[in-house]
Subunit: 165 residues, 2 copies
């Protein structure tokens, strides 16, 4: 655990494949639950979302699967904000087994802030939320798996902070 840890969980039997390993889609579920925890942290918990008619939609996600993890193992998600504008957050997460320092997976997501009123539409963050988002930005820490492109042969954005696996 460290200040970046936003979520922990245990790999459930129903999340595994016939080998007893976490199925790819359930890495994404753990990240999805971690994103819920991220929303809580920036002041958009369920109560606030309902009271303010606000929500966060995932526009896009990129996942790297680095190592397997088995049923019953502890999973930990660390997260920080790579960037944000008035309505969007570029969130970066890494998943670890237990207290290990080498990630078993990484995920970046583009999140959109939405006004869920009668006609749902994108909306600027409220100032208190924007302040909490900014507090989770960390320019010092290099994202190990961000800005990646899926291609054969392996390609990546030239200008990005990319370290091919």
């Amino acid at each position: 655990m460290n200040e970046k840890t936003i979520y922990t969980d245990t790999v459930k039997p129903e999340w595994t494949d016939y080998n007893g390993h976490l199925r790819d889609a359930f890495y994404m579920l753990i990240y999805s639950l971690a994103t819920d925890a991220f929303m809580d942290r920036i002041g958009l918990d369920d109560t606030a979302r309902r009271a303010r008619n606000r929500s966060i939609f995932t526009l896009e996600a990129h996942i790297n699967f680095l190592h397997e993890i088995k049923e019953g193992a502890k999973a930990r998600v660390d997260a920080w904000v790579l960037g944000a504008d008035a309505k969007r957050i570029h969130l970066y997460m890494e998943m670890f087994e237990g207290d290990n320092l080498q990630p078993i997976s990484a995920c970046e997501q583009m999140l959109l802030h939405v006004d869920t009123g009668s006609s749902p539409k994108s909306a600027p963050f409220d100032p208190d939320v924007a302040n909490r988002i900014n507090a989770m930005q960390d320019q010092r820490q290099q994202p190990r798996y961000a800005g990646r492109v899926i291609a054969l042969p392996s390609a990546s954005r030239e200008s990005g902070a990319v370290r091919p696996a």
Copy 2:
């Protein structure tokens, strides 16, 4: 349905959020089940995987969430192969509601062929499997959401077949 349709499913209640919409991670589960169907189609069904000590691992995935879909709706996944080498497949999928022509989501994945013997390691496809993979390549059809990079402001690979959303 068309020749590219590899999987259909119905949005289950336990896959939805409090609004009754499919949660982001369960788009990924539908793609994961579609990838199982893809494995069947290239001759790597469960029986063959066990008999040959072979499996397919997902190395990396990129998803675009374009539209919501509700509990009980029919989801359809079309797929084709964007590229392949001796051990890897660049698989592209789009998800549709019912028989609609506009996708509600897109997903590209990099898949690795693995020898699951005593010490698991990447391995070349057997010739019969390689032939089936090649038969699923389609250079004519332009992938609407491939080669994308997550970034603020929106960036994309300059040379790629990219149409920003």
